[in-house]
Structure formats: C-alpha cells, structure tokens
C-alpha cells in the first residue's frame, strides 16, 4: 500500500511546517504533497486525484471559509478525507463540520489524541470527532452550563447585533432575546452585555461570523 498523500491548508507558515514535521515523523505512512496558504482554492488541488487527506485549519484570516472549502472538496472528491484542526473551542464548529460531511476534527491544544492518531483513524475509514468541544469559562459560568440557544445568542452578540437584530437572526421576539440575555448575565456574573460579549469572545466559546469568512 502506497503512502497517503496529505495536503496541509493553514495560513500560518509555522503551522504548515509543524504539521509537515508531524506528518514526516510518521515515517512511510504519509507524504506531504501540498502546503497551501489559503482555503479559497484548496478544492482545485484535489481535482486530479493527487490528494488523499486534507488537514485544514478552521480559521483563515484572508476571509476564506474553511468549512465551505472542505465541503467543496468533499463534493468534488468524496473519497478525499478531510480533517479540520483548530485551537479555538468554538462551540458550533464541530456541529458545522459534521453537517458538511467532514471526516475528522482535532483541537490543537485540547485533544487527548494526537493528530497522527486522528489521521490514521480517518484514513482507515472512521469519522473521528472529540466527544465534546473543550470546556471554557465565560465569566463565572462554564460553557457546559450554557444552553445551545444561549450560545447562539452569545455568537450574535459578539457580531455586535442589537436585541432586535438577534431576534431576526434567530427567529425569536426581542423580549425572548432579553430574557435569554438576562439569564446569561445572571449565569456569567457579567454586569452588562458589552462585558458579556467580551468574555464570550475572549473565552473562544464563540467566534463572530465575520471572522470565519461567512
């Protein structure tokens, strides 16, 4: 059996080279064929079938969306395996990756498994995701204590939306948003929504949609 051909997509040179080193340390199992700086054209690289596995960072600062790129790759070449990697514990990203049919997800700092293990299992045909996104603290509250609805509201809050705009985005009334906001303030101990938004963003639990290239 030949080597698994790996494409590394990360906008940081050092990260690309680190992953290259990790892949090289696996000996004859893997071979890095492309180091790509942006997700935006990543789908083109797989067209001629020269790639078996893609390691792709979630957060690209050039505005390209890694999730969209990964989904395009899976649509063009379903046999190509894709593993998303990130160091940010954003609560929704694992769900987003699952929804788009991505094969594996790895947290750079918090995952118990090494990225090589995840790569091996994904190449073997498994779909490998951590049991849960890493727990993080938002003010006094642990991310486990927040409901999915509250996390959605936090994400909209980090995008700088008003209650009315949050209501429109999440299909709820401004009064319902206010109620959720009050619960969030009580849970986190934050004094106001600005502090809450800052705490939520600093914790990494939520990342603004504009930061993801969406």
């Amino acid at each position: 059996m030949g080597k698994t051909r790996v494409m590394i997509v990360d906008d940081q040179r050092l990260a690309r080279q680190y992953f290259e080193l990790v892949v090289a340390s696996a000996g004859d199992r893997y071979e890095v064929v492309h180091l790509v700086e942006s997700a935006v054209f990543a789908d083109t690289y797989v067209l001629r079938g020269g790639v078996d596995l893609v390691l792709m960072d979630v957060l690209m600062t050039d505005g390209s969306s890694s999730f969209e790129a990964a989904e395009r790759i899976k649509r063009l070449k379903p046999q190509v395996k894709v593993v998303m990697v990130t160091s940010i514990p954003e609560a929704s990203w694992m769900d987003e990756a699952r929804r788009r049919g991505i094969d594996g997800f790895w947290y750079k700092d918090a995952s118990l498994e090494s990225v090589l293990n995840v790569m091996d299992r994904v190449v073997a045909g498994e779909v490998v995701y951590p049991a849960a996104s890493p727990t993080t603290m938002v003010g006094l509250a642990s991310s486990d204590e927040l409901t999915s609805r509250e996390v959605q509201i936090l994400r909209a809050l980090v995008d700088g939306l008003s209650n009315e705009e949050i209501g429109e985005r999440l299909h709820m009334t401004p009064n319902t948003v206010k109620t959720h906001m009050r619960h969030l303030l009580e849970k986190t101990g934050c004094e106001n929504r600005t502090q809450l938004a800052l705490q939520a963003r600093v914790s990494g639990l939520v990342v603004g949609s504009t930061e993801l290239g969406n």
Binding site: H34, V36, S38, T44, S87
Partner: protein, 433 residues
Amino acid sequence: MTAIGSFGTLVPGVLGFVSLVLLVVATYVLVETWMLGLGRVRVYSAGAFAASLLLMWAIDFACYQVTNPSMLVGPPTYVLSVLPVGLYVVLLVVLIIVIARLAMLLRNERMARITPDSVKEAIDALPDGVSFSSVDGSPVLVNIRMDALAHDAFGTSLKNERTLWGRLCCGACNQDYAVEDVDSEAGRALLVATDGRSWQFSRRALAIDGVELTETIAADVTEEHALLMQLDERNRQMAEVNERLRAYGRDLVQLTREEEALAMKVRVHNEVGRAMVALRAYERQSPDQRDREQLLALWHRVTHLLEDVGQTEMIVDDWELLCKAAAAVDVRLTIEGKLPDGLAARKLAVMVVHECLNNAVRHGDAHEVNVTCVERDGMTELTVTNDGNMPAMPPEETGGLSNIRASVERVGGMLAVQWSPRVMVTARYGLED
C-alpha cells in the same frame, strides 16, 4: 271649607303675590324654552304660563270682590271669592311643582347643550395648539395655544394657516426655534425650541357638512422628543460599542493566531531539544549501536523547520494563489490584459476564473486555461477559454457555474457561456469599491 273671601285681605294678598311670582317664573321658562326650541317642553311651559296667568287673575278678582263688595263685577267674580282657600293653595302648589320641574329641565338642557362659546372655551383649555381653517387658509377656529405658538415661533398670530405651514416647512422661524423632520406630503413637521420644548405639527384635510376645512394640531411632544433624543444617543453609543467589539474581535483573532504561533514555536523548540538529546545519546553510544540514518533524518527535519522560523509571512495575492493551485493540477494559467484594480471587481474576476479552471479540469481534462481581461466603458469584460476536451452536449448549469452567474448578476452584470466551437465563459460587469 272656608271661602277665600272670609280671610279678609291678608290671605288673598299673599296668595296673589305668590301667584305673581309664579307667573314671572313661568314667563321666563316659556321664553327660554321657545328660544332653545325644546319641543314638547315648550308646550308644557305654555300651559304652565297660561295656568299661572289664570290663577293670578282668579286670586286678583277674588281679592277685588273682598275689598270692594259694593262693586260686584258679576257672578263669576263672586264665585271666585267663595271658592275654598284650600283649592287655591293646592292649585298654587301644583303649579309651583310643575314650573320647578320645567325650570330643572331647562337648566339640564342648557348644561348639556354645546354652544360655539363652549367649543372655543374647551379648545382654549387644551395644552396643544389647535386650529381649523378654510381651504384658502383663513382661520375658522384657533385656540390660544396655537395663536401663542405662532406668535412666539413666527412673530405673528395665526392670520393664515397656509402661510404658517409654508413658513414651518421652509424653517422660517425665530432664532429660538428650529424645524426638524419636515414631511410636507404627510403634513408633519417638528418645531423645537432652544429650551427643549417641542411640538409636533400635523395637518389634515376635513370635510364637515360639505365644508372643506384644514385641521392643524401642534401637539406638545416635549417629553417624547427628549426621550427620543436620549434613545438616539444611546443607540449611537451602542453602535460605537458594537463597532469597538467587532474591532476587538478582529484583534482577538490576531492574538489567537499569535498564541498559536507561539505554541508552534514551543513545539519546534521541543523538537530541537529532542534532536539535541538524540545527538548526545548518539555520541555516548558505541559505534555498533549508532543509527546514523535515523539521527540524520531527525536533524534534517529540524534544520528544515529552523530555516523558516524567523521568516515573516508573505502576503500573497489571490491571483498568485490561483496560479499556484492551477500549477498543482498541471494547468498553465495565462492572462492577457490585466485584472481590475478595484478590490471587489478583482475578487469577482478571480472567483470566475477559479470556477472555470475547476470545470475545465473536471469536465475537459484541460491543461491550459486562458484569461482575457479588458476594461471597456467602465466595465470589466472577462473571457475564459481552455484547451480541454469538448463536451458532447452542453452540461446542465448547476453548482459553481450557477453560483458565479448569480454573483455576477447580483452586481448588475451578465455571464454568457458558449459551448461551441470551444467552451468560452464571458463575464461583463461594472463594480466599484
């Protein structure tokens, strides 16, 4: 029963006086009810008046008969003088009750009736300015507040409503006032005094009993306007905070990336340390135990890493990235002319070429993609061809191609796809940053 004539002059005199007073009151009630046009009450008043007159006449004649017995007028007056006094008293009491009741009805009617004076009095008491004027602007009814407001803000009392509205719409008011939010079509304008008092002027046409009138109201909205100003200020502050939050988010992304880079550097440092330990171990090992190839491979990886650690990330242009991607799939990407300078127009051009490149490789196994880009009449005209195999029949336009068509058409451009004699995609659009 004792006849009235038996009491001498005192009792008939008192009864006569009472009947006279009753007649005066009945006359007043009759006149008022006729003036107010009170229907059946007028008939009752007339009856009460007639009864009062007859009773007074009867008592007078009875008295006359008593005081001048020698001057007998005739049997009727005699009869009146011998009638019992109780009958007169009862008749008087009944008449008093009837006339009192009529007087009460009259009073109630007057209380309930709205007269022009009462209308004026009522609108003068309003805190808001109100005026009604004819179509030519002549005032029909103006309250004190509106008049005072016109005087204060425009230096004259309300002499013509159209003139006042014209001055309001063009903001021709005294220096202590300002006009805001004028909507002459909707008939609305806001007058704000420097001391904070505010009036919302609204104007509408009315037709009352076939007469066309213009109603103008100046509602005192001082409190509401102050609250609105506070709300605007808060919204402005909120928008500033939200913008700062977004900027903070961007900074935080950078910070996160720097943290990631630091973590990577730590890992690189660890790799170097591991290589050093391996080197020391190698030196301590006897020659037959040494694995030179393994040590060399480890150091090769470490030195490769260290070569780039100090280098800064180069910002790479989208077009260069696309050329690199094309080269990776063995496609030569060429361009004749140059891509648009504007960021948005350039991004759209690269997006179109990217999709064409993908389609050329997927469906035509192309190895050369040629782009022609010209600026004509402020529009970008982009043509993409390839050397790939011809499709047997035009493929269905789905996915990427339909997406770029939507993107081009969204900015008012057009996208044309020609399938023969070779595949050629042309996009034409004008897009400014």
